[in-house]
C-alpha cells in the first residue's frame, strides 16, 4: 500500500501534516500535486523545505502526476499525496491516476465565494461538485483535520452546504 494517505489541504504542508499525519501513517515521501505551485519556483521551494524529518517532497503538475503516482504505487516507499482542492483530485481521476479509495480533507479556508461546511472547511460550488464526483466514483471522503479528531463523511458535510 505505497500511497498511504491522500489529503486535500489548502495550506498543503504545514503543522498538522508535519507533526501529526506523517507520524500516524507511514510516510517516506510527499507528492504535492498542484499546477500553480509546480510553476511557481518560490512556492515550490517553500514546500520542499517544509518536509518533515526524513521525508522527501516533490511538486508536480496534474499531468506529470499521473505517471508519478503510478511509479510511487509500484515502489517500496510510502507516499502521501497532497492537493489544495478536490478539483485537482477530480482532474487526476479523469486523467486515469489511481490514488486509492480513501480521501482525507483538512483545512480549506474561507474565500469570497465559499460556504462554510465544517470547522475550518469552506467550499465553492465547483469544489462541492468535485466532491460529489469523487463520491460517485466510489471514494471514501472523510473530513478530519488531525488524526486525534473524529472523521466526518462527505454525505454529512454536504448537508451543510
Amino acid at each position: 500500500m505505497p500511497i498511504t494517505f491522500v489529503r486535500i489541504d489548502d495550506r498543503v504542508i504545514h503543522g498538522q501534516v508535519v507533526a501529526r499525519w506523517s507520524r500516524f501513517r507511514p510516510c517516506d515521501g510527499i507528492l504535492v500535486v498542484d499546477d500553480k505551485i509546480a510553476h511557481d519556483p518560490l512556492q515550490k521551494k517553500i514546500f520542499i523545505n517544509a518536509a518533515p524529518a526524513g521525508v522527501k517532497v516533490g511538486v508536480f503538475t496534474v499531468k506529470e502526476s499521473v505517471e508519478r503516482i503510478k511509479k510511487a504505487a509500484e515502489s517500496k516507499r510510502n507516499y502521501f499525496i497532497i492537493v489544495k482542492s478536490p478539483v485537482t483530485l477530480k482532474n487526476l481521476l479523469e486523467q486515469g491516476a489511481d490514488f486509492g479509495p480513501d480521501i482525507n480533507v483538512g483545512p480549506l479556508s474561507a474565500r469570497s465565494d465559499t460556504k462554510t461546511v465544517a470547522k475550518n472547511v469552506s467550499i465553492t460550488e465547483e469544489e462541492k461538485k468535485a466532491f460529489d464526483y469523487l463520491f460517485e466514483n466510489g471514494k471514501n471522503i472523510q473530513f478530519q483535520l488531525i488524526p486525534d479528531e473524529q472523521p466526518i463523511s462527505w454525505s454529512k458535510i454536504k448537508a451543510n452546504y
Binding site: H14, G15, A19, K45, A50
Partner: protein, 136 residues
Amino acid sequence: MFGVLVTSHGPLCKALVETGEMIAGVMENVEYISLDEKGVDVYSCQLKEKLDKMAEKYEGVIILCDLKGGTPFNECLKIALTEEYNSAIIAGVNLPVYLETVHCSIHFSKDFEELFENLKETTKETIEFLSFKKEE
C-alpha cells in the same frame, strides 16, 4: 547587532520571550509574533510589517520558528526568500536555543554561518536523556 524574531503556532513565542526575561533579563532586540485564530492572512501581513521594521533597525534578523514545515516557518521562508534584507531562520526553537541565539545576536554579529556554527556547538548538549528503570 542582529534582531531576533520568535514566531510560533499560538502563545509559545510570547512565553519563550517572557521566560527568557526571567533568566536573562529584558532583551531589547527581541520581538515575537504568533499565528492565532485570526488566521494566516492576518499573520502574514503582521509578520511582513514586523520584519520590515526590524530589518531597518538591525544588520539582519534571525527568525526562530517553532516547527519546521509549520505555517509560521513556511510564511517566514516566503518573506526571507523574496525580501532584500539579511535574514536567517532557525526551526525547532526551544528555550536553550532561544537564549543562546539572543546571546549571540548581541555579542557577535558577523555573518550568519558563523553564528550557526557557534549555535550548533553550544546547543547540541542542551537536551539530556535520563532514564531510571527500577528493578522489580
